[in-house]
Chain length 261, copies 2
């Protein structure tokens, strides 16, 4: 079975990265040079390196070169159900558990929810152009780390929070605390969560924000928090797929309620 050249080259590079003969940070020879070394055309080498860029093993920077990626310690993004109802920020807590120090930036704006978010929040049809959600964008980082852990976007319905001290998630007396904490402060009892996990190629903007190669893969976690039947928050959590694993765990046993279809 004869493999295409670009697959052979990709495999060769992959093994040389794996066995350490191409350590992180190494700059690969230029395209034309590798083409000569492998006895192949430049386009073929390009296909091979693009493959490894999508796999997260290489990064290319125009004008600079193609580099073996500095692999951050494998990141564990624990998503366990027992997390909330504790003090402090959930992300800060997650990082502390791994001996890291979490920091983040955010920006909150009111807006009219786009149709897809509307649907997830169970909002009625829009009333003219009126703003009906608080949208907050986050970038979460480990203080010592160059590239962020995740970029996230959260939406909360204004009919719940407008005029309350928690309307802005990161401001006021409960600023920066978890959703369940903040909601409890206005008498909303968050009793369940639900997350849908999938993956897709990163957009150009996401790849840049997360410091990953163009076209590489992001894991998408779509979270919802519930108070009874009411959805009180939804959030899109975007993480680089090749360096971060979402970890779920729990007991084996009978159904105990609090599960959303």
């Amino acid at each position: 079975m004869n493999q295409p050249s670009y697959v052979r080259i990709a495999t060769d590079l992959r093994t040389r990265i794996a066995n350490g003969s191409l350590p992180p940070g190494t700059r690969l020879p230029a395209r034309h040079q590798m083409a000569e070394e492998y006895g192949a055309a430049e386009g073929v080498v390009r296909q091979a390196t693009e493959t490894l860029v999508r796999e997260g093993l290489l990064v290319s920077r125009p004008g600079a070169g193609t580099f073996v990626r500095e692999r951050p310690q494998p990141r564990q993004f624990r998503r366990s159900w027992y997390y909330e109802r504790r003090n402090g920020s959930p992300f800060a807590r997650l990082m502390e558990e791994q001996g890291r120090h979490g920091v983040w930036e955010h920006r909150s704006d009111t807006m009219q929810a786009p149709p897809e978010v509307r649907d997830r929040l169970g909002l009625a049809a829009p009333d003219g152009g009126e703003h009906d959600v608080m949208c907050t964008r986050y970038v979460f980082r480990d203080e010592g780390d160059a590239s962020p852990w995740t970029v996230s976007t959260s939406w909360e319905p204004l009919d719940l929070t407008k005029g309350t001290p928690i309307a802005f998630p990161e401001a006021g007396p409960h600023g920066g605390l978890g959703v369940t904490h903040r909601m409890a402060a206005i008498g909303v009892d968050v009793d369940a969560w639900r997350e849908e996990v999938w993956a897709r190629p990163a957009s150009r903007e996401e790849a840049q924000q997360l410091g990953i190669g163009a076209g590489s893969i992001v894991t998408v976690i779509e979270r919802a928090y519930f108070a009874g039947e009411r959805v009180v928050e939804v959030c899109d959590i975007i993480v680089p797929a090749e360096s971060t694993r979402a970890v779920y765990s729990g007991p084996v046993g009978e159904e105990r309620g609090h599960v959303r279809p």
Copy 2:
């Protein structure tokens, strides 16, 4: 802001697919024809269609053409913690809940566990070439559906199951039942599970098995079942990322134990 041609073409195709003017099953014009229509080179059109193939929107078949993908109903792969400890096969049950009918093929072999599996199962160093795990490969399908939901590979340590009626997961009186059921039959009390979720480009073989385009993305779910501190099964579950979402949900509350780091 001037975008590259292949991005423009990809965006154009994406919107035409989204708004229904290129319905599922449509065959796109041949590359050389599209190149003429867009006033671009063939290579550029190829870049554009390859992008959409990776996104799961197109499939190309050599000699036949490039087609808008028949989008299966969005698949929900529920992974909730309360699933087990019920009668029947977990997959059959999952499908029933969605009004489908699950079927599957399998093949079991004893083998010596590869290092990575060894590590996950907590096995000691290999003893010569002796077989120490039962490896079972599955293909799970919806009876009415062309492409499988998932291909999975399960490993169970033989020092637990060898010589017992459950040594072959799909044979004997407990064949086809869930891991917790089968283990209970030999007195092993499975009390916790843990899943790591991430994603990567599909291998050629996986893409073919799952009926997705070359280079498109698979979600990987690495599952472990625990009996106390002992890992009694590990399983790699591979699903097409663009059509399947892993769904986790649970209550909000305090830690209740049964969680594995």
